[in-house]
Symmetry: C2
Protein backbone atom coordinates (compact mmCIF):
# COMPACT_ATOMS: atom_id res chain seq x y z
CA UNK A 1 0.00 0.00 0.00
CA UNK A 2 1.10 3.56 -0.58
CA UNK A 3 1.73 5.23 2.71
CA UNK A 4 1.86 9.02 2.95
CA UNK A 5 1.30 11.93 0.59
CA UNK A 6 3.93 9.73 -0.83
CA UNK A 7 6.81 10.42 -3.07
CA UNK A 8 5.04 8.13 -5.50
CA UNK A 9 2.11 10.47 -5.82
CA UNK A 10 4.30 13.55 -5.98
CA UNK A 11 6.14 12.02 -8.89
CA UNK A 12 2.93 11.17 -10.68
CA UNK A 13 1.61 14.69 -10.31
CA UNK A 14 4.90 16.16 -11.37
CA UNK A 15 4.84 14.12 -14.56
CA UNK A 16 1.37 15.36 -15.38
CA UNK A 17 2.30 18.95 -14.75
CA UNK A 18 5.52 18.67 -16.73
CA UNK A 19 3.61 17.18 -19.63
CA UNK A 20 1.08 20.00 -19.58
CA UNK A 21 3.74 22.67 -19.31
CA UNK A 22 6.30 21.46 -21.78
CA UNK A 23 4.46 19.06 -24.07
CA UNK A 24 6.96 16.26 -23.61
CA UNK A 25 7.81 13.92 -20.81
CA UNK A 26 10.38 14.56 -18.08
CA UNK A 27 13.53 12.53 -17.66
CA UNK A 28 14.38 10.65 -14.52
CA UNK A 29 16.60 13.53 -13.48
CA UNK A 30 13.98 16.15 -14.28
CA UNK A 31 11.71 14.35 -11.87
CA UNK A 32 14.42 14.13 -9.26
CA UNK A 33 14.99 17.86 -9.43
CA UNK A 34 11.29 18.67 -9.51
CA UNK A 35 10.42 16.45 -6.58
CA UNK A 36 13.51 17.24 -4.52
CA UNK A 37 14.82 13.73 -4.74
CA UNK A 38 18.53 13.44 -4.43
CA UNK A 39 19.23 10.76 -6.98
CA UNK A 40 17.90 9.17 -10.17
CA UNK A 41 17.81 5.73 -8.67
CA UNK A 42 15.02 6.60 -6.27
CA UNK A 43 12.99 8.00 -9.13
CA UNK A 44 13.73 4.90 -11.15
CA UNK A 45 12.54 2.79 -8.27
CA UNK A 46 9.24 4.61 -8.04
CA UNK A 47 8.74 4.71 -11.78
CA UNK A 48 8.98 0.95 -11.85
CA UNK A 49 6.36 0.74 -9.15
CA UNK A 50 4.12 3.19 -10.97
CA UNK A 51 4.47 1.17 -14.12
CA UNK A 52 3.61 -2.04 -12.28
CA UNK A 53 0.56 -0.35 -10.83
CA UNK A 54 -0.44 0.67 -14.34
CA UNK A 55 -0.31 4.41 -13.78
CA UNK A 56 2.36 5.14 -16.32
CA UNK A 57 3.79 3.51 -19.36
CA UNK A 58 7.18 3.86 -20.93
CA UNK A 59 9.45 2.32 -23.49
CA UNK A 60 12.61 0.92 -21.97
CA UNK A 61 15.80 2.70 -22.93
CA UNK A 62 13.87 5.49 -24.61
CA UNK A 63 14.41 8.93 -23.18
CA UNK A 64 11.36 10.97 -22.26
CA UNK A 65 9.00 8.16 -23.13
CA UNK A 66 6.88 8.29 -19.99
CA UNK A 67 3.18 8.52 -20.71
CA UNK A 68 0.27 8.75 -18.33
CA UNK A 69 -2.16 5.97 -18.97
CA UNK A 70 -5.75 7.09 -19.13
CA UNK A 71 -4.71 10.30 -20.74
CA UNK A 72 -6.10 10.30 -24.25
CA UNK A 73 -3.99 11.84 -26.91
CA UNK A 74 -4.93 13.00 -30.33
CA UNK A 75 -8.52 11.95 -30.61
CA UNK A 76 -9.57 15.31 -31.92
CA UNK A 77 -10.95 15.76 -35.40
CA UNK A 78 -11.43 19.05 -37.10
CA UNK A 79 -14.80 19.11 -38.81
CA UNK A 80 -15.37 21.87 -41.36
CA UNK A 81 -18.38 24.09 -40.88
CA UNK A 82 -19.38 24.40 -44.51
CA UNK A 83 -22.32 26.75 -44.27
CA UNK A 84 -25.81 26.94 -42.98
CA UNK A 85 -29.07 25.15 -43.42
CA UNK A 86 -32.13 27.32 -43.77
CA UNK A 87 -35.71 26.99 -44.90
CA UNK A 88 -36.17 27.02 -48.66
CA UNK A 89 -32.50 26.76 -49.53
CA UNK A 90 -30.66 23.64 -50.64
CA UNK A 91 -27.96 22.81 -48.16
CA UNK A 92 -24.34 23.21 -49.15
CA UNK A 93 -23.01 19.87 -50.29
CA UNK A 94 -19.28 19.39 -49.93
CA UNK A 95 -17.30 19.39 -53.15
CA UNK A 96 -13.91 17.77 -53.63
CA UNK A 97 -12.55 21.20 -53.02
CA UNK A 98 -14.20 21.55 -49.63
CA UNK A 99 -11.92 19.02 -47.97
CA UNK A 100 -8.63 20.42 -49.09
CA UNK A 101 -9.10 24.16 -48.92
CA UNK A 102 -9.20 25.46 -45.40
CA UNK A 103 -12.75 26.28 -44.34
CA UNK A 104 -13.43 29.53 -42.57
CA UNK A 105 -14.61 27.79 -39.47
CA UNK A 106 -14.14 24.37 -37.97
CA UNK A 107 -15.51 22.38 -35.09
CA UNK A 108 -13.31 20.24 -32.94
CA UNK A 109 -14.90 16.94 -32.15
CA UNK A 110 -13.65 13.79 -30.55
CA UNK A 111 -13.38 10.33 -31.90
CA UNK A 112 -16.38 9.41 -29.79
CA UNK A 113 -18.71 11.34 -32.04
CA UNK A 114 -16.95 10.77 -35.35
CA UNK A 115 -16.36 7.04 -34.88
CA UNK A 116 -13.97 7.07 -37.85
CA UNK A 117 -16.65 7.86 -40.35
CA UNK A 118 -15.41 9.72 -43.38
CA UNK A 119 -16.79 12.77 -45.11
CA UNK A 120 -18.13 14.50 -42.04
CA UNK A 121 -19.05 18.15 -42.17
CA UNK A 122 -21.19 20.49 -40.15
CA UNK A 123 -23.93 22.99 -40.90
CA UNK A 124 -25.34 25.71 -38.72
CA UNK A 125 -29.11 25.86 -38.59
CA UNK A 126 -30.78 29.17 -39.30
CA UNK A 127 -34.40 29.67 -38.40
CA UNK A 128 -36.89 27.29 -36.90
CA UNK A 129 -37.93 25.36 -39.96
CA UNK A 130 -36.53 22.14 -38.53
CA UNK A 131 -38.41 22.34 -35.28
CA UNK A 132 -40.26 19.11 -36.00
CA UNK A 133 -36.86 17.38 -36.09
CA UNK A 134 -36.24 18.85 -32.63
CA UNK A 135 -33.63 21.12 -34.11
CA UNK A 136 -33.74 24.79 -33.36
CA UNK A 137 -32.15 27.98 -34.56
CA UNK A 138 -28.42 28.04 -33.89
CA UNK A 139 -28.01 24.30 -33.56
CA UNK A 140 -25.22 22.61 -35.41
CA UNK A 141 -26.02 19.58 -37.52
CA UNK A 142 -23.33 17.01 -38.17
CA UNK A 143 -23.63 15.55 -41.63
CA UNK A 144 -22.02 12.77 -43.55
CA UNK A 145 -21.92 12.89 -47.33
CA UNK A 146 -24.33 10.34 -48.75
CA UNK A 147 -26.80 10.08 -51.58
CA UNK A 148 -28.59 7.09 -50.13
CA UNK A 149 -29.28 6.03 -46.58
CA UNK A 150 -30.30 2.89 -44.75
CA UNK A 151 -33.85 2.26 -43.58
CA UNK A 152 -34.82 4.54 -40.75
CA UNK A 153 -31.70 6.66 -40.85
CA UNK A 154 -32.00 10.36 -40.29
CA UNK A 155 -31.21 12.30 -43.43
CA UNK A 156 -31.31 15.77 -44.83
CA UNK A 157 -33.61 15.62 -47.83
CA UNK A 158 -34.50 18.13 -50.49
CA UNK A 159 -38.16 18.22 -51.41
CA UNK A 160 -38.18 19.19 -55.06
CA UNK A 161 -41.58 20.72 -55.64
CA UNK A 162 -41.79 22.23 -52.18
CA UNK A 163 -38.28 23.65 -52.75
CA UNK A 164 -37.44 22.94 -49.18
CA UNK A 165 -34.87 21.07 -47.16
CA UNK A 166 -35.97 19.02 -44.18
CA UNK A 167 -34.53 16.48 -41.81
CA UNK A 168 -36.44 13.25 -41.35
CA UNK A 169 -36.10 9.53 -40.89
CA UNK A 170 -36.25 7.88 -44.29
CA UNK A 171 -38.10 4.65 -45.04
CA UNK A 172 -38.50 3.07 -48.44
CA UNK A 173 -42.00 1.72 -48.95
CA UNK A 174 -43.66 0.07 -51.92
CA UNK A 175 -44.16 3.04 -54.20
CA UNK A 176 -43.34 5.82 -51.83
CA UNK A 177 -40.69 7.17 -49.60
CA UNK A 178 -41.88 7.77 -46.07
CA UNK A 179 -40.40 10.67 -44.15
CA UNK A 180 -40.93 10.48 -40.42
CA UNK A 181 -40.28 13.42 -38.12
CA UNK A 182 -38.08 12.90 -35.07
CA UNK A 183 -40.93 14.23 -32.99
CA UNK A 184 -43.22 11.24 -32.87
CA UNK A 185 -46.22 13.33 -32.05
CA UNK A 186 -46.20 14.49 -35.64
CA UNK A 187 -47.39 12.46 -38.57
CA UNK A 188 -45.10 10.99 -41.22
CA UNK A 189 -45.33 12.15 -44.80
CA UNK A 190 -45.18 10.19 -48.04
CA UNK A 191 -43.59 11.22 -51.31
CA UNK A 192 -42.96 9.64 -54.69
CA UNK A 193 -39.31 8.56 -54.99
CA UNK A 194 -38.38 11.17 -57.57
CA UNK A 195 -39.72 13.89 -55.40
CA UNK A 196 -37.08 13.60 -52.67
CA UNK A 197 -33.37 13.91 -52.96
CA UNK A 198 -31.07 12.73 -50.16
CA UNK A 199 -28.47 15.34 -49.41
CA UNK A 200 -26.65 13.58 -46.63
CA UNK A 201 -26.89 11.49 -43.53
CA UNK A 202 -27.44 13.27 -40.24
CA UNK A 203 -25.17 11.79 -37.62
CA UNK A 204 -25.59 14.24 -34.84
CA UNK A 205 -26.91 17.48 -33.48
CA UNK A 206 -25.01 19.81 -31.23
CA UNK A 207 -26.62 22.63 -29.31
CA UNK A 208 -24.44 25.05 -27.38
CA UNK A 209 -26.27 27.31 -24.96
Amino acid sequence: MASAPSTRLRILNFIGKFLDDRGYAPTVRDIARGCKISTPSVVQYHLNKLEDEGHIQRDPEVFRSIQLVGRKREAIFEVPLLGSIAAGKPIPVPTADSWTSAPEETLQLTDEVIRNRKGIYALRVKGNSLIDALISDGDIVLMQSASTVEEGEMAAVWLKTAQEVTIKKVYHEANFIKLEPANREMAPMHFPPDEVEIQGRVIGVLRKL
Copy 2:
Protein backbone atom coordinates in the same frame (compact mmCIF):
# COMPACT_ATOMS: atom_id res chain seq x y z
CA MET B 1 11.18 28.01 -51.68
CA ALA B 2 10.65 24.32 -51.05
CA SER B 3 11.05 22.40 -54.24
CA ALA B 4 9.81 18.81 -54.60
CA PRO B 5 7.91 16.33 -52.43
CA SER B 6 10.90 17.45 -50.54
CA THR B 7 12.81 15.82 -47.79
CA ARG B 8 11.56 18.68 -45.68
CA LEU B 9 7.97 17.64 -46.08
CA ARG B 10 8.73 13.97 -45.61
CA ILE B 11 10.36 14.80 -42.31
CA LEU B 12 7.40 16.86 -41.20
CA ASN B 13 4.97 14.09 -42.01
CA PHE B 14 7.15 11.52 -40.33
CA ILE B 15 7.20 13.56 -37.16
CA GLY B 16 3.43 13.74 -37.16
CA LYS B 17 3.06 10.03 -37.71
CA PHE B 18 5.63 9.17 -35.09
CA LEU B 19 3.87 11.39 -32.61
CA ASP B 20 0.55 9.71 -33.32
CA ASP B 21 2.01 6.23 -33.11
CA ARG B 22 4.24 6.52 -30.10
CA GLY B 23 2.98 9.52 -28.17
CA TYR B 24 6.39 11.16 -27.94
CA ALA B 25 8.62 12.88 -30.41
CA PRO B 26 11.26 11.21 -32.56
CA THR B 27 14.96 11.87 -32.21
CA VAL B 28 17.09 13.16 -35.01
CA ARG B 29 18.23 9.63 -35.68
CA ASP B 30 14.70 8.23 -35.57
CA ILE B 31 13.85 10.65 -38.33
CA ALA B 32 16.94 9.73 -40.30
CA ARG B 33 15.99 6.06 -40.16
CA GLY B 34 12.34 6.72 -40.91
CA CYS B 35 13.02 8.97 -43.87
CA LYS B 36 15.95 7.01 -45.24
CA ILE B 37 18.41 9.78 -44.60
CA SER B 38 21.93 8.61 -44.06
CA THR B 39 23.02 10.94 -41.31
CA PRO B 40 21.72 13.00 -38.41
CA SER B 41 23.24 16.19 -39.69
CA VAL B 42 20.96 16.33 -42.70
CA VAL B 43 17.99 15.94 -40.43
CA GLN B 44 19.40 18.58 -38.15
CA TYR B 45 19.74 20.89 -41.09
CA HIS B 46 16.13 20.46 -42.13
CA LEU B 47 14.85 20.69 -38.59
CA ASN B 48 16.48 24.07 -38.30
CA LYS B 49 14.77 25.16 -41.49
CA LEU B 50 11.45 23.81 -40.32
CA GLU B 51 11.85 25.67 -37.08
CA ASP B 52 12.68 28.88 -38.91
CA GLU B 53 9.62 28.42 -41.05
CA GLY B 54 7.59 28.00 -37.90
CA HIS B 55 6.40 24.47 -38.56
CA ILE B 56 7.98 22.89 -35.56
CA GLN B 57 9.23 23.97 -32.20
CA ARG B 58 11.81 22.43 -29.96
CA ASP B 59 13.93 23.11 -26.93
CA PRO B 60 17.63 23.13 -27.71
CA GLU B 61 19.61 20.30 -26.20
CA VAL B 62 16.49 18.55 -25.05
CA PHE B 63 15.95 15.09 -26.46
CA ARG B 64 12.63 14.33 -28.08
CA SER B 65 11.37 17.86 -27.65
CA ILE B 66 10.07 18.41 -31.17
CA GLN B 67 6.50 19.62 -31.25
CA LEU B 68 4.32 20.41 -34.21
CA VAL B 69 3.02 23.93 -33.99
CA GLY B 70 -0.68 24.25 -34.65
CA ARG B 71 -1.35 20.89 -33.17
CA LYS B 72 -3.56 21.19 -30.17
CA ARG B 73 -2.50 19.11 -27.28
CA GLU B 74 -4.68 18.16 -24.40
CA ALA B 75 -7.85 19.89 -25.39
CA ILE B 76 -9.96 16.92 -24.44
CA PHE B 77 -11.97 16.89 -21.25
CA GLU B 78 -13.53 13.85 -19.73
CA VAL B 79 -17.03 14.66 -18.62
CA PRO B 80 -18.68 12.19 -16.26
CA LEU B 81 -22.03 10.79 -17.29
CA LEU B 82 -23.65 10.82 -13.87
CA GLY B 83 -27.01 9.31 -14.64
CA SER B 84 -30.18 10.00 -16.47
CA ILE B 85 -32.88 12.57 -16.52
CA ALA B 86 -36.41 11.27 -16.70
CA ALA B 87 -39.91 12.54 -16.14
CA GLY B 88 -40.97 12.74 -12.52
CA LYS B 89 -37.54 12.04 -11.09
CA PRO B 90 -35.16 14.61 -9.61
CA ILE B 91 -31.98 14.65 -11.61
CA PRO B 92 -28.78 13.34 -10.07
CA VAL B 93 -26.84 16.25 -8.66
CA PRO B 94 -23.11 15.75 -8.40
CA THR B 95 -21.72 15.30 -4.92
CA ALA B 96 -18.17 16.00 -3.85
CA ASP B 97 -17.64 12.32 -4.31
CA SER B 98 -18.77 12.37 -7.93
CA TRP B 99 -15.69 14.18 -9.15
CA THR B 100 -13.10 12.01 -7.53
CA SER B 101 -14.46 8.51 -7.87
CA ALA B 102 -14.32 7.21 -11.41
CA PRO B 103 -17.76 7.29 -13.02
CA GLU B 104 -18.92 4.28 -14.99
CA GLU B 105 -19.15 6.23 -18.18
CA THR B 106 -17.60 9.40 -19.49
CA LEU B 107 -17.94 11.63 -22.50
CA GLN B 108 -14.95 13.11 -24.20
CA LEU B 109 -15.49 16.70 -25.16
CA THR B 110 -13.24 19.38 -26.47
CA ASP B 111 -12.32 22.68 -24.99
CA GLU B 112 -14.59 24.29 -27.56
CA VAL B 113 -17.68 23.04 -25.76
CA ILE B 114 -16.38 23.24 -22.20
CA ARG B 115 -14.78 26.67 -22.49
CA ASN B 116 -12.99 26.10 -19.17
CA ARG B 117 -16.15 26.06 -17.17
CA LYS B 118 -15.94 24.00 -14.02
CA GLY B 119 -18.30 21.42 -12.60
CA ILE B 120 -19.51 20.03 -15.90
CA TYR B 121 -21.35 16.75 -16.01
CA ALA B 122 -23.66 14.98 -18.38
CA LEU B 123 -27.04 13.28 -18.13
CA ARG B 124 -28.73 10.97 -20.58
CA VAL B 125 -32.35 11.79 -21.31
CA LYS B 126 -34.91 9.03 -20.92
CA GLY B 127 -38.33 9.46 -22.41
CA ASN B 128 -39.86 12.36 -24.24
CA SER B 129 -40.84 14.57 -21.34
CA LEU B 130 -38.46 17.29 -22.48
CA ILE B 131 -39.80 17.50 -25.98
CA ASP B 132 -40.83 21.11 -25.49
CA ALA B 133 -37.18 21.91 -24.84
CA LEU B 134 -36.42 20.26 -28.18
CA ILE B 135 -34.73 17.42 -26.35
CA SER B 136 -35.65 13.88 -27.17
CA ASP B 137 -35.15 10.42 -25.79
CA GLY B 138 -31.50 9.41 -25.86
CA ASP B 139 -30.10 12.90 -26.06
CA ILE B 140 -27.31 13.87 -23.75
CA VAL B 141 -27.62 17.04 -21.73
CA LEU B 142 -24.52 18.86 -20.60
CA MET B 143 -24.96 20.42 -17.20
CA GLN B 144 -23.03 22.73 -14.99
CA SER B 145 -23.58 22.66 -11.26
CA ALA B 146 -25.44 25.77 -10.18
CA SER B 147 -28.18 26.72 -7.78
CA THR B 148 -28.87 30.04 -9.45
CA VAL B 149 -28.71 31.18 -13.03
CA GLU B 150 -28.58 34.43 -14.94
CA GLU B 151 -31.61 35.92 -16.65
CA GLY B 152 -32.68 33.91 -19.66
CA GLU B 153 -30.26 31.05 -19.10
CA MET B 154 -31.40 27.54 -19.78
CA ALA B 155 -31.65 25.54 -16.58
CA ALA B 156 -32.85 22.24 -15.27
CA VAL B 157 -35.47 23.04 -12.67
CA TRP B 158 -37.39 20.90 -10.24
CA LEU B 159 -41.05 21.79 -9.93
CA LYS B 160 -41.91 20.92 -6.34
CA THR B 161 -45.62 20.30 -6.35
CA ALA B 162 -45.64 18.84 -9.83
CA GLN B 163 -42.76 16.60 -8.72
CA GLU B 164 -41.20 16.99 -12.08
CA VAL B 165 -37.97 18.08 -13.66
CA THR B 166 -38.02 20.28 -16.73
CA ILE B 167 -35.63 22.31 -18.79
CA LYS B 168 -36.55 25.92 -19.47
CA LYS B 169 -35.20 29.41 -19.79
CA VAL B 170 -35.44 31.12 -16.45
CA TYR B 171 -36.51 34.74 -15.94
CA HIS B 172 -37.03 36.44 -12.61
CA GLU B 173 -40.09 38.66 -12.64
CA ALA B 174 -41.73 40.76 -9.94
CA ASN B 175 -43.31 38.04 -7.84
CA PHE B 176 -42.87 35.10 -10.10
CA ILE B 177 -40.33 33.08 -11.90
CA LYS B 178 -41.07 32.74 -15.57
CA LEU B 179 -40.11 29.50 -17.29
CA GLU B 180 -39.97 29.75 -21.06
CA PRO B 181 -39.73 26.67 -23.28
CA ALA B 182 -37.02 26.54 -25.95
CA ASN B 183 -39.76 25.95 -28.46
CA ARG B 184 -41.16 29.42 -28.90
CA GLU B 185 -44.41 28.14 -30.21
CA MET B 186 -45.24 27.10 -26.70
CA ALA B 187 -46.37 29.45 -23.95
CA PRO B 188 -44.21 30.33 -20.95
CA MET B 189 -45.29 29.37 -17.45
CA HIS B 190 -45.16 31.28 -14.19
CA PHE B 191 -44.42 29.94 -10.74
CA PRO B 192 -43.93 31.39 -7.28
CA PRO B 193 -40.23 31.49 -6.38
CA ASP B 194 -40.40 28.79 -3.74
CA GLU B 195 -42.04 26.45 -6.16
CA VAL B 196 -39.04 26.00 -8.42
CA GLU B 197 -35.61 24.74 -7.54
CA ILE B 198 -32.69 25.23 -9.91
CA GLN B 199 -30.76 22.02 -10.30
CA GLY B 200 -28.15 23.20 -12.71
CA ARG B 201 -27.35 25.21 -15.78
CA VAL B 202 -27.80 23.56 -19.15
CA ILE B 203 -24.85 24.35 -21.34
CA GLY B 204 -25.44 22.05 -24.22
CA VAL B 205 -27.30 19.21 -25.81
CA LEU B 206 -25.73 16.43 -27.78
CA ARG B 207 -27.67 14.06 -30.00
CA LYS B 208 -25.93 11.13 -31.60
CA LEU B 209 -27.85 9.39 -34.33
